[in-house]
Point group: C2
Chain length 331, copies 2
Amino acid sequence: MAPGAVSGKSKVTIVGSGNWGSVAAKLIASNTFKLHSFHDQVRMWVFEETLPSGEKLSDVINRTNENVKYLPGIKLGKNVIADPDLENAVKDAKMLVFVTPHQFMDGICKKLVGKVNTDVEAISLIKGMKIALEKLSEATVGYRENKDIAETWVQLFTTPYFIVTAVQDVEGIELCGTLKNVVAIAAGLVDGLEMGNNTKAAIMRIGLKEMKALSKLLFSSVKDSTFFESCGVADLITTCLGGRNRKVAEAFAKSGGKRSFDDLEAEMLQGQKLQGVLTAKEVYEVLSHRGWLELFPLFATVHEISIGHLPSSAIVKYSEHKPKSSLVCKL
Amino acid sequence: MAPGAVSGKSKVTIVGSGNWGSVAAKLIASNTFKLHSFHDQVRMWVFEETLPSGEKLSDVINRTNENVKYLPGIKLGKNVIADPDLENAVKDAKMLVFVTPHQFMDGICKKLVGKVNTDVEAISLIKGMKIALEKLSEATVGYRENKDIAETWVQLFTTPYFIVTAVQDVEGIELCGTLKNVVAIAAGLVDGLEMGNNTKAAIMRIGLKEMKALSKLLFSSVKDSTFFESCGVADLITTCLGGRNRKVAEAFAKSGGKRSFDDLEAEMLQGQKLQGVLTAKEVYEVLSHRGWLELFPLFATVHEISIGHLPSSAIVKYSEHKPKSSLVCKL
């Protein structure tokens, strides 16, 4: 019998127990309970805290089946076991689901060396989704070679209200996740300028096209179809309708350039960083270095607006450069 | 010298002078004025009316350069000539732009037989766009064979605030324009159920995927790339953010099934018809006839909700059928 498998059943451990970690635990536990190929019990590693009541968070979760601190009011399922001991939590696991804040990953991975099964599979959930209330939502699982492993992960996450798709395009998925934040800045500027839905939709579409074109220039393996997946058009729409990048960019445009992104970020995001502005800067450097600036007028313009070189209204004017960007149209 | 060409310059006539016809005239006149290959003057056929002042509409347009009835406050350009005589307006024209209400097209075309140049080119602008205020907007020109003709039309329409692209996929473009209204119904239901942006984005993406899959099943010539054009993702976003289909569907869901679409349409649209519900019915018939219902759960569900066979909340539940719709995922 392989380690981590009891009667051939895969054991799953969630590494992390914040809001999204708890959501993942709830969702996965409902599946392991139903599906024969998984072990019923799901372990969730909890970074231990003492609650105001004096109780330990892990004890309360195990007693109430509820993460009262990070996902109050939602039952996780009786087969979710909170465990404050990382090493014990991952022992025997066949599948690890990482849902800790990004900055803790390095430290956690170092602690796991030699403590996990050699054939363990792992997935990283970088972004949060509000699906605990069982509203329909979606996600994409990226994979390189092994479709069967990807499909096992899809099985583990899929529920009637959470549609998960496996896509063989890791780079495409990651670039979607990054570049959409630049487009969200552009969409927020349009909102701030009060230019209406037609203009916003045009900017979102042009942004999607630049996302696709840049991804394909950087990695020839990137597929068009990835941009039709939830990581592409759906995440882009979500980010451009809500989302902090959109919100701060709207305030920036409304201020008429009087306030900087740094300033608004500090005021509006309580310490969270504005991904889109940082990404726009990095993208600009890549484009500039490779001589591609004219091929990506939207990405370039977002950066130039964000550093105050262009007014917000420039976001709807770069289309004058269109003839130069025929490459983008073809990609 | 070819008829309709003065020193080789193409003469353009706008057939129609309503709101969108006037917008088209303004936009085209600014281009013919700048571009050497077009005759400066743009004729606009006006269905003559007598204004409350007693003046003829065409006279007022020619005196003020403004369509005071259908596009007040916007200067059309001095090179737009209003002409109430259809035959005279199209005489010598090399390019005709049709922007009359759909129901008048038959009658107008009959009147034009034998009155236009044999090599005349024509384009039909079916839907309106609010670009007269020079907000950035987009459109797609569909063509079958002749790319040069398509590019001439693109030249005629393109301005810094109006991005026009030629796409060799007439069927794809037309199906985008039709099917997006069904998706807008779905999006409106999500709005009415107050399920949030994540869910709405998921529904829009699934809708886009069904639009693409159905178009490709119906016409093998349809291209994936068409759905990245403004007629695809951008129009879909616009329609799902604003638009009457979305609005009435939202009211339908909010009423909890107590009011019918017919009822709400009569109350909310003042005689305009709800395209999405009609289209959903037609699509349902096609799907049913061809045995494809299970491949298109979103389209099918919209119809079943609209006729009261399913509650509005079914719009986020059809994902349970997902395994059956693998064809859609591949297309």
